[in-house]
Structure formats: C-alpha cells, structure tokens
C-alpha cells in the first residue's frame, strides 16, 4: 500500500528524463515537418547514428575524451549529415509533382540504408556508453541519479538554444517565414533550398543529442531508433502540428505516462498505451493540444 505512493516521485523523475529526450526528437521532427512539409522517416536513424558516433569516437581515437569535446565533434558531423541527406535524398524529389509522398518513400529507403550500414559496421550487438554524469543524490528514501538531472539540463539547454536561434537570428527568422508561407518567403528573397538544408541539419543534431542522452540507459542498436521515432510523432500529434510549446508539453506528459506504465503495469504495455493514445487523439482532438488544424 505504502509502496504505491513511494513510487510516484521516481516515476516522475524517470518520466521527465525520458520526456526531455522525446522532446528533442519530436522538436526535430516538428521543425522539419513545419519547414519542408515532409515527414522524415530517417529521423530515427539520425538518433541511432548520433549515439553510434559518440560510442565510436573513443574507439577511433584510442583515448577517452571528456563529453563536451565529444559533443563538439559529433554535433557538426551530424549537422553535415542532415544537410547532405537533404541534398541527396530530399532535394531531387522536389521537382516531382507529388513530392510529399515520394519524399516519404525515399526517406524510408534511406532509413533502410542507414540502419543496414550501422548493422554491417557496428554489428548486431547493442552498445552502451558511460553515463554523462556520475554520482547520485540521497534525499531520505529516494535516490536521484545526477545523470537524470544532467539529461534534463542538457535537453533544456538545447531547446533554449533552438528557441533563441528561431527567434533572434536571421536564419531562424527565415526558417519561420518558410514554415508560415513558402511562396511569400520566396517572394521576399528567402532562399528556401538553403533553409530546407539547415532545418534537416538541425533536426539531425537534435535527434543525435536525444540518442546520446538516452544511450547510457537504453543502449544503442541498429534498429533502436524506430521506437523513439514512432513515439516522437505521437508527441507531435498530441502537441499539435507546428506548435513548439505544445510539442514540449506533450513530450513531458507522455514521458511521465510512459514511466507510470513501466512502474505500475509492465514494460510490455508501453507501445500499446502509446498506440491507444494516438488513436484517442485522432478521435477526440485531431488538432492536438495546442495545434491549429491545417
């Protein structure tokens, strides 16, 4: 009876931690959808590849570097990865009259290529990276791992950086302009192609950070990006398409729901619960919590 109550704080902490990872994933997806109007099925592969790069760096350099240095190396690589991905996979479809659907097919094929490459290069066994922060804090009966707090802090830092970029810089404003009205943005001289590339790059970076933050706890495997990817689009649905605030809120709500399910029911029920949430949103409120429909 008592244990039921005692589990609530740990469920909240777990939920907020995983929720911040999902928020990063979902924001990237939402950004790409808003700006380029395409669903990127290779988003989960960005997540996996970011984590793999982080794992591979010490192996490649034969020495362990502190995390900030590794982040400084992985982030530009992932940005370039997303940018080139846009150039090779998304761009050639743009002249096709039905490009939204052809892009969907192409990104799915690209996801297969990335995942198979990861399988061939890194092998089928899942990898683990050490926690980003060591140590734990004791508060009476509860144990709080510093890593969980660190994950939340880094995610918040990344989200604030993205907000600043979108609101304060020239490129960010251009990005929002393209998201609002592509033709209008082109008329006033925004180079939309460049903006598409940037948005894919940023989404790749966000997904990679999410992958790295989740890796110490959830491990890295070649197909491991698919589940967070599916979850992140449920989040985008719940938050409302194109709503920044809604996406972040929805990520934390669903993260906490997931942690509750894991603690009180069973891990097997996580995906069914997410699916029920998705169907529920579609029936009850298809525009999401904060969204504007179409």
């Amino acid at each position: 009876m008592d244990t039921w109550v005692y589990k609530i704080p740990s469920a909240l902490i777990d939920g907020v931690t995983i929720g911040s990872v999902y928020a990063l994933m979902a924001l990237g997806l939402s950004l790409v959808f808003g700006v380029t109007r395409t669903y990127n099925f290779a988003h989960g592969s960005f997540y996996t590849w970011g984590a793999y790069l982080m794992w591979y760096l010490p192996v490649l350099l034969k020495r362990n570097l502190p995390y900030p240095v590794k982040f400084a190396i992985v982030v530009p690589i992932m940005f370039l990865f997303g940018w080139i991905f846009e150039k090779i996979v998304v761009r050639p479809n743009r002249k096709s009259p039905n490009w939204i659907i052809t892009v969907l097919i192409c990104t799915l094929a690209a996801a297969l290529i990335f995942d198979t490459t990861a399988l061939v290069v890194f092998g089928p066994l899942s990898k683990a990276i050490p926690p980003l922060f060591e140590g734990k804090i004791r508060l009476g009966n509860f144990v709080v791992y510093v890593n969980d707090l660190g994950v939340f802090a880094i995610a918040m830092l990344a989200i604030s950086a993205l907000t600043l970029f979108l609101n304060k810089t020239r490129q960010g404003t251009a990005m929002r302009a393209v998201a609002q009205d592509l033709t209008g943005a082109k008329i006033v001289g925004v180079r939309a192609d460049k903006i598409f590339g940037y948005s894919l790059g940023i989404s790749a970076v966000l997904a990679a950070i999410a992958g790295i933050l989740a890796a110490p706890k959830y491990f890295i495997s070649p197909m491991g990006g698919w589940v967070p990817y599916i979850k992140s689009f449920v989040i985008v649905f719940l938050g409302g398409l194109g709503s920044f605030k809604g996406t972040v809120c929805a990520a934390f709500i669903l993260g906490i729901v997931e942690a509750m399910v894991v603690i009180y029911l069973m891990k097997a029920w996580v995906m069914p619960v997410w699916f029920v949430v998705l169907i529920g949103i579609l029936i009850l409120r298809p525009k999401g919590l904060f969204g504007i429909w179409e």
Binding site: S96, V120, V234, W274, I279
Partner: protein, 343 residues
C-alpha cells in the same frame, strides 16, 4: 493497344499476355518436376505478388497512403498459426477465418484514420506495424512461443491428401490458385463501380463528391478488402513456411515489398506482379552481396522514385504508346498532382 484476331475471337494484348503467362505457369511443374528450387521461387513470387498488388490497390488506386500492409500480412499469418494450433482448425477454413479477422482489424484501424489525409495514414498504419512486434514477442498467454515464434504449423490438405513438405508441386498449384483468384478479385475491384469511384475522386475530387460519391465509405471498403486479401495470403504463407516469427515485421521485408510496388509501377494493374517478379529475382541474384544487398535495394528505391516515377509497367506503357524513349511519363504521379489536395 492493339487486338489479336484468332478466327472470329478478338483478344486484347494484355489479356493475351496474361493467358500465355498463366499457361506457362500451369505447365512449369510438368516440364520441370524435379526443380524444387525454381518452384519454391515461384511460390514466393505468387505470395509477394499478391501482397504487392494489394498494396498497389490501396496506395495506387484508392490513394490511401498506407504503411500497414506487412502488418496485416503478419496478422493473417499469426491468426492462422494460432487457430490451427491452439483450436485445432483444419487449414483451409482457418485461412479463410484469418482473412476475415484481418479484415476486422483493418476496419478498426480504418474507422478513425481514413478521414485523415495523406501522410497521417502512413504514420498511423506504421505505428500499428511497430506495435505488433512487441505484442507478438510477449504473446505467451495466447500460445506464441518465447521470442515470437510459432513452430510446425499444420500442412495444407486437399480432399484428404496432406501436402508433403519436401515436394513443392502441390504447394505450387495451391499458391497459383490463390494468386489467380486474389488477383482477379483485385482486378474486379479496379473495374467495378468502387474502382471507378476512385478514378473519379482522383481526377475530379470536388465534382465527384458533389455528385454524391462518398469517399470515406469507399476508402473503408477497399481498406477492409485489401486487409482480407493480405490476411488470406499471409495465412497461406504461414502454412507454406511452417515457422513464423516477428522477423516478418523487419524493415527489410517492408522495403522489399514497397520496392515491388514502386518499381513495378504505382497505380498500374500488373505493376505489383511485375515488380514482385523482378525484385524476387534480383534478390536471389544478389545473394553474394550478403547484407549489403539491403543497401543496394534502398538505393534502387530512391533511384526509381526520382528517375522513373511510373515504374517499369508505367514506363513500358508510355514507350509503347508514344514511341518515345523517355523515363518519365504522365502516369499516376502527374494525375495525383492534379488532385491538388493539401497533405
């Protein structure tokens, strides 16, 4: 296209080719009774051609962008596995019942999601696909073995004759029968008022709707029907391979089937069949490449979508009709663009 005259009977080229292919397929086991490998290849071709053509029906004709095809195929396979093993049903009724059960699941998924447009349906049906694997892996209470396996699914029988596992010919004829029946069903749907309603909605949506064509109703019917077809062929697959696992939901199977539809030609009738033949053959041919062949397959998808959006069938049709050697025709994708629907 032209006609062939044999005495007083006139047959279209397409029908003549189909009949010739059917006669050749009927004669194959008689001509090469010992070649089990080739027959196995063709049984797989029958199965995947139906899957690809069912996907083509929903995606190319009905314009429902679904990614749940393999999910329904898997539901059919596991349904028959459980029905014949846990309840002891005999194989053929079990295959039919699996088809009906899969159609029910299709209706349940279609009811909330078919009102949405374009990419959303893809995401929801893909979520169903992702949901199935963890469910199957933990299906011990209903009789699925640990790790998501069902072993030793009963062999098919015909009038008391149980098909042996080591002789492929009976399986070949059973597969060929299902292949012909299900393809005729799909062809009938395309040529029926339902198919015409879709053509009307695709080419002149608002006009068709103003004349009282209920898009949602027709979409639901076709979605359920394709789920039924996929369930039946999935069930046949389960009886044929005897051991099924959640490996069926892997991304490689998924993209392999997708490339059959894309390469064959979206929205062209024999497209899925042509695509299935080419892809299955290519996949066998590329065996020395091992796991790299998935990378090659992914690259083929991207190249086809970008440079040959009408697929093999659409391009061949275009070349025959206009006598111009060009890869891009005015097929499905151009027509879809005319829909001017916001996705």
């Amino acid at each position: 296209m032209g006609m062939i005259k044999i005495g007083r009977i006139r047959i279209g080229w397409g029908h003549a080719m189909a009949m010739l292919a059917l006669v050749l397929l009927l004669l194959l086991p008689v001509l090469m009774p010992k070649n089990n490998y080739l027959m196995h290849f063709f049984v797989l071709f029958f199965i995947w051609a139906v899957v690809a053509e069912a996907w083509n029906l929903i995606m190319g004709y009905a314009g429902i962008f679904t990614f749940g095809t393999i999910a329904f195929f898997t539901i059919g396979a596991f349904a028959t596995g459980l029905l014949s093993q846990q309840l002891g049903m005999s194989p053929w009724p079990s295959i039919l019942l699996s088809g009906i059960l899969t159609a029910l699941v299709g209706f349940l998924i279609g009811l909330p999601s078919l009102r949405l447009k374009g990419a959303y349906i893809a995401l929801i049906t893909y979520a169903l696909h992702m949901l199935l694997a963890p469910l199957i892996r933990r299906g011990k209470p209903i009789g699925i073995e640990t790790g998501g396996f069902i072993w030793n699914i009963a062999s098919l029988n015909f009038l008391g004759y149980v098909f042996p596992r080591n002789v492929i010919a009976p399986w070949y004829y059973a597969g060929l029968t299902l292949f012909v029946v299900l393809l005729l069903l799909i062809y009938w749907v395309i040529r029926s008022p339902i198919g015409r309603a879709f053509v009307a909605l695709r080419d002149a949506g608002p006009l068709a709707q103003s004349l009282g064509v209920n898009e949602y109703k027709y979409k639901l019917i076709v979605f359920g029907l394709s789920a039924f077809i996929l369930g039946v062929i999935g069930a046949f697959y389960a009886h044929y391979v005897a051991t099924i696992s959640d490996r069926m939901l892997g991304l490689d199977y998924f993209v392999k089937t997708l490339i059959m539809v894309i390469l064959g030609g979206l929205g062209t009738f024999p497209g899925g069949v042509v695509g299935a033949f080419v892809v299955i053959f290519l996949y066998e041919f590329m065996r020395p490449l091992m796991s790299y062949r998935l990378i090659v397959l992914g690259a083929i998808v991207i190249l086809t979508v970008v440079y040959m959006p009408n697929g093999l069938t659409g391009t061949a049709e275009y070349i025959i009709r206009t006598k111009k050697w060009k890869l891009v025709g005015d097929g499905f994708l151009r027509r879809l663009a005319k829909m001017k629907k916001k996705i």
